[in-house]
Symmetry: C2
Subunit: 265 residues, 2 copies
């Protein structure tokens, strides 16, 4: 049996105001933060959790977020560092379908996309304040058409989905924990590499450790009451499983982590 | 029959960051805004919609909001300008029970407090991110004890409530429209003075006209999906009734309005 290992794929960075990172608390001023994907090399397949943003889309539709992405920070570029190709990825695990977490799904048209069923439903019909967050559904022409309330073009591409809800062990020691609030259907990922304690990737439940420390939400959210419960859940999960929490967007932490071509094994 | 008239009672001002007024949009930087109450002199009674903040409480618990309130900006001071006393008020109509809308309820222990039943329930058990918003329930020792999960002191004072839900015509041409999202149970007030078009006080559905123009929520909210629907509802109500919208916290507008001792008649 192949031992499970994990690599972090650097997807570039963005910058937003501190009031967007720390809801109603701030302080204000630009905070530049990393965007990354988690690659899980497992006996049962090659899983990628989140796929970052698409630079062209961000530059065109969200220029205020000042996205930066070097050519080797694209997913093909990052996978190449590990001697891998996009076609090797068998499953895309979505924390949620926001613009900076699903922008690279298009690189994996042959993979199964595992996503919360409520998240797919929300992306297909977002409220006004989430429209920009779901503006990049380019990996699924059928979903894009649903969202835009138009007929999908003939032969429109739709990836293979596995819709889930509740907590799911996707493969041995690879858990998706249901942590909604930031988005309608949001999953945190916990993986136990062969030779180290579990890694808990909490997605946008906590952009940074300060969100956890203060129990302060990020300012982008659908349901703050559920989001607070998810923050508390992540803290509890980490305690219960002796897991290390990896927040989604913390530059001071990200610079200290191992990144591809290195592995956590 | 006494003709209905309306007076605006200046309750002082506060200042918060622009990202708190315009959720995820800003720009940042302090915005100073007015806090006011609406007095409705009606055949059926003397109604007050919202009661502003208590300066002592704000200074102690929310110093970051930089509350300013001159002695004549308290409710007794404002009512005196009209030749009235707090005891003359028969009904307190609550948009919601947040700190800057219910801080003066204590001046009216003999009045009936009209409030959405969901709002009372929420105030009695707020989530973490709303605790500060419901920190000033000093007008009701029983509710305060419920919130704090302690036994109420013997003989604790509880005002007389009228709990409502849905749209309610409280008196002829005095409407409370259900507009939730900012808070669990939130009401906008519409009044038709005898000699002018209806006045629609939308509470914290829209702190300023820019919230309405951009369909941008304020950043303090419980349920942004319902809050967006309430923004759209206020716009529609104003159109349907040819009503003038009065936002809750817009200084550029407030300085142009008539204030007590003047009346809108």
């Amino acid at each position: 049996m192949r031992p499970t290992r994990v690599a972090l794929l650097d997807g570039g960075s963005m910058a937003i105001d501190g009031y967007k990172v720390y809801w109603n608390r701030g302080p204000g001023g630009d905070i530049r933060f990393p965007v990354y994907s988690v690659l899980v090399d497992h006996e049962d397949g090659l899983f990628i959790y989140d796929t970052g943003f698409d630079l062209e889309h961000m530059t065109k539709f969200v220029p205020q977020d000042q996205a930066i992405q070097a050519p080797d920070q694209t997913l093909p570029g990052q996978l190449a560092k590990l001697g891998l190709k996009p076609e090797d990825v068998t499953h895309v695990l979505s924390s949620h379908l926001h613009i900076d977490h699903a922008g690279g799904h298009k690189h994996f048209p042959g993979a199964t996309v595992v996503v919360h069923e409520d998240e797919y439903a929300q992306a297909s019909n977002p409220p006004l304040f989430e429209k920009l967050s779901y503006s990049d559904l380019n990996y699924d022409a059928v979903l894009t058409a649903k969202r835009d309330k138009v007929e999908p073009p003939a032969g429109a591409f739709e990836p293979k989905y596995r819709f889930i809800r509740g907590d799911v062990e996707i493969a041995k020691d690879v858990w998706l924990w249901e942590t909604p609030g930031h988005a309608a259907g949001h999953y945190s990922l916990m993986v136990k590499p062969a030779g180290r304690r579990p890694m808990l990737f909490c997605g946008d439940v906590a952009m940074t450790p300060r969100n956890l420390e203060l129990l302060c939400l990020g300012s982008f959210h659908l349901d703050p009451t559920r989001a607070i419960a998810s923050l508390q859940r992540v803290i509890k999960l980490a305690e219960e499983h002796d897991a290390e929490i990896f927040c989604s967007h913390s530059m001071p932490d990200f610079v200290t982590w191992k990144k591809a071509p290195e592995w956590y094994e």
